[in-house]
Symmetry: C2
Subunit: 194 residues, 2 copies
DNA sequence: TTTGGCATGTAATCCGTTACATGATTAG
DNA sequence: CTAATCATGTAACGGATTACATGCCAAA
């Protein structure tokens, strides 16, 4: 069986032959916003792929420690193509943010606000980041045949982030309205004037 | 150590005492769009929570097999409150859809279209579902103190789904434009008329 | 009578991160 | 000299799903 991590590796190797170390770097820069891979996953997977004849390895001696450069083999290309054509399986969602908002005490509006605000700020940061990457791609790789696809995935992230900002702003208004309705959570030393 | 699954359980038990089986059902209906739990996770976690004194168990004999009803203990409530106030940790994203779009052959626009279209349809379905749930909640639980929070989490899902629809529509246009630019992938028996 | 829902649980397995181990090279 | 980066790997652990095992009751 071939896992999605292994297919991700095969995909990366269609860009160019590279080492496990380079892969990790490239993942972080290019597909980091929708995919992650750790060394603990990469190196064993590369061994498996080599054993299965889907990639080939050669050593490149450099000034530092020798690199092990992997290339995708014809069999690997074929398997990858088949996989790419299959309908992607949706990953099960798991949002601690929503879990916390769902279960917080209704009266504890301040904590709800804090969480929503933090989420909004994160989304805004992401938005900036996406804009920056898109710029850079268009400038430096404007001729690459896969540029459109890269921009598609970036756009996905952008739309998602924009949605989170809108949601957060809307939710903050709701929370404000709630706080207006019951101004004070009845502290012990208040309401004495009455 | 207490995991997020265990906190989810504690959260559920603030709604009402219930059995592991009921939890599974309730999760699927209420927080299913942002959280999942399986029996293989629930039952062992309940044991752990009971051993830690965070929940209490009693048997309820009914007409069917005896149910084991769990309630949240004061210590559990306290731990939960602390956890709810901590900033939620974002889950690492992993989207097979984007991975496939990223690595597909640039010329293979039909497959890209298929994936994007399927994603759009799924998002539209979700949208309907969210609308239905929101209606139902407002109608049947219009008085519940946590209604606003439930609607917040639903709204999150709605915004995300709307964003996916927008993204898909935009992307489909891009793909159409690409297909226009190179009308035919040069099939063997075409262009003969020339 | 047999299917499906109620009900609890365990075992196998997968997928993934983190920490650890090692060691060379380079920049400050 | 020392911290960071390059570079490869393993081991431990964690978190979660799936499949399996069991069995009762109700409805078709």
């Amino acid at each position: 069986m071939t896992t999605s991590t292994e297919f991700a590796i095969l995909g990366l190797l269609t860009l160019k032959p590279m080492s496990g170390y380079e892969m990790r770097q490239l993942v972080a820069q290019s597909i980091g916003h929708f995919w992650g891979e750790s060394y603990g996953q990469l190196y064993p997977s590369l061994k498996k792929l080599e054993a299965a004849g889907l990639v080939s390895k050669r050593a490149e001696e450099g000034t530092r420690r020798d690199k092990l450069i992997y290339s995708i083999a014809p069999a690997g290309r074929e398997k990858l193509q088949q996989w790419l054509a299959q309908p992607p399986k949706p990953q099960p969602p798991r949002s601690e943010l929503l879990l916390k908002l769902f279960f917080l005490t209704p009266g504890d509006v301040p904590t709800q606000r804090r969480h929503v605000l933090a989420a909004r700020d994160r989304a805004i940061e992401e938005l900036k980041h996406f804009g920056y990457i898109a710029e850079k791609l268009r400038a430096e790789r404007g001729d690459h045949p896969q540029l459109q696809q890269w921009l598609m995935t970036l756009n996905f992230g952008r739309h998602q982030a924009e949605a989170r900002v809108r949601w957060a702003e809307e939710t903050l208004e709701t929370l404000d309205a709630i706080e207006q309705r019951k101004p004070e959570p009845a502290l012990a030393n208040e309401g004495e004037a009455q």
